[in-house]
Symmetry: C2
Subunit: 379 residues, 2 copies
């Protein structure tokens, strides 16, 4: 159907097919479809819950199904007392990704996946984690800031609004709600990326959903993967103006420095998600009369294309958007987690259906056979 | 240097080279060497600490280095109070692998790897986790059984003795200490197996050691990987005699049932570790005048070779050995974790040096492009 992009040297197993998937495709490399639907249509017309349902259950929901699913997710926001006590033990200095990882691992001991594993059971755990990982993070956040034990159960109509409500202590505006829907949709799924592949390997050994999601969170944390949106913001926020940003980045690029937020392991000429998230960022900036960060990011997009022929990936304007909604920088990647649990879980289910263990070979470059030397004769 | 075994259908990426390694090789498929040394020599002549040093630091230690390293590991057995409080929240019904995962994830928030990541920093975290993951598990175990808060700091001379001491509340015999050394050595490292590959993928995104180890624990849990030793014991312990076991397994095999503990993704004719762990199990059984389980396992080895031409892997007689030392079945895989942290950490360090992200491709088998249908027009 589509032609694969050429392998990239900085990517191990680039272009090597590691399995089959019906969940999404990056097409010829400038395209992204979830279950056949163009991500641009989804981000413009659907809610995040609608897309989570599509990714996890395989088809767009009817109105009745979507209402039921949205209500179901909303009903799963509360945390068991032992998980709250666990979160209270984690220090304020912890990285929010580590807090989410620890929270999911603790929840796993209380809400274990029942054996034999089924797609229904896996989806139930996915729904639970989509609904409550934000609760975990923000419970810990407030407790370690001022000792308050917030109620994580709210009546917010969506996952994104629940997050912003718990973060800021008040319901977000309609613009912010819409921005969260679009952003979470764009982050929901992306084929065999490193964290999803991690989840598939863990599932391939016969392990459980929480183990797969915990491992995927660990992979997403890296700055070459989900952590890139945090690094992108650090770059953008260094500058007071677009002109200053342009001067500095031109100088850095001429010295060979890599700018995080540009290029992608699978896209060749453009990240199809960029145009949408850029528009989200612009709308937020305009509504708030604060275009500084967006203007800097926009200028650097031009500079990077001109100097390096590199295009911004989803992380670049996600950073702008989350910053405009007052999300602390180190919570950017946790938002990515909440969205991507949908994709991870769908891939776990698919990997289980394929029934293989993933176990590549290695090229041995170590010493030839060595004779053992008893310790008395060493050194 | 060596010829790779032919790919196996039940294994995705079988025989596909995913990277370089100097840590170990399975040679032509009937062999296993750590840093060039035959694992059989190591298991017969070295201590686990000696092999952990070899795997992590790249060379066999001198006597002075080994003494210092063994003392260093012994000094790292205590747990911070917040981790103890976290462990107290995890229910008695939890799987010990999930407890270890949660413990490591909680410790990560308190003892974060310092950026920029270095081999020295990674080894320090590996040493800490080799020393204290047993403490985590056994603290939780006793607390949830009888409410006791054990002191995890002991003066036991080795990792294996520390584990058995905390488990049983008394120092183990010299035979048990020797059995633990051999068993942990055999479990320490195994090239690009699924959990190690998980750790490498996580490290490849630029993520930290605890994230990589947490993910690897999740992968090891699966019954097609580390969890196999628990399933092997369930098989062996079903029977009262070798004759009964033979009759039943012949019948099951004739019906196509798969017996866990036999065959291996990379070995072709034999698991080189089997002869050693089988000997460990026999010595333990003879010393205790309890050969029942070993005799059953031995008979089933013969039956499986005769009927299926399948050989036992390391898990088969590990199950016998751990059972003879009074280790609860669901702690077999956690012992594997403690040993394998050495290999995982060495691979994290190596993956970081290679500097690649691991990101394979996928074969898309989903629907062709679909037109988005607005929700009002659905169903």
């Amino acid at each position: 159907m589509t032609q694969a992009p050429p392998p990239k040297k900085s990517v191990a197993l680039s272009g090597v097919v590691a399995g089959n998937t019906a969940i999404s495709t990056v097409g010829s490399g400038d395209d992204l479809r979830y279950r056949g639907y163009d991500v641009r249509d989804l981000a413009e017309h659907a809610t995040f819950e609608e897309v989570a349902y599509l990714v996890l259950y395989g088809a767009l929901p009817t109105k009745a199904q979507l209402t039921a699913y949205t209500e179901r997710l909303a009903s799963l926001r509360g945390l068991p007392a032992p998980v709250l006590r666990v979160l209270e033990q984690l220090p304020a200095t912890a990285h929010p990704m580590d807090v989410m990882h620890a929270g999911v691992a603790a929840l796993a001991t209380l809400e274990q996946e029942k054996s034999p594993y089924t797609p229904e059971g896996a989806r139930a755990i996915a729904d639970r984690l989509i609904a409550c990982t934000g609760s975990m993070l923000l419970y810990w956040y407030h407790f370690t800031r001022d000792g308050s034990r917030i109620d994580t159960v709210t009546d917010d109509p969506s996952v994104g609004e629940h997050f912003l409500h718990l973060l800021h202590g008040k319901k977000p505006s309609a613009e912010w709600a819409a921005a969260m829907h679009a952003s979470l949709i764009l982050y929901a799924e992306h084929e065999f990326n490193a964290s999803t592949f991690t989840a598939r390997i863990i599932a391939g050994t016969g392990s459980d959903m929480h183990s797969a999601i915990g491992g995927a969170i660990g992979a997403l944390k890296g700055p070459k993967h989900g952590g890139a949106n945090e690094v992108a913001f650090e770059v953008q926020s260094r500058y007071e103006s677009a002109d200053q940003a342009e001067r500095d980045i031109r100088e850095r690029v001429s010295k060979g420095e890599i700018v995080i937020g540009f290029g992608h392991p699978v896209y060749r000429t453009v990240d199809p998600r960029n145009v949408l998230i850029k528009q989200v960022g612009r709308r937020l900036g305009e509504a708030q009369h604060d275009m500084k960060l967006w203007t800097i990011a926009d200028r650097l997009e031009t500079v990077m294309m001109e100097t390096k022929k590199m295009f911004p990936n989803l992380d670049w304007f996600s950073a702008v958007s989350y910053s405009l909604m007052g999300v602390p920088t180190n919570m950017f990647t946790p938002l990515f987690v909440i969205a991507r649990i949908t994709g991870w879980a769908a891939h776990v289910i698919e990997q289980r259906q394929q029934g293989t263990i993933i176990r590549p070979g290695a090229n041995y470059i170590g010493p030839d056979a060595l004779a053992f030397v008893p310790i008395a004769s060493r050194g």
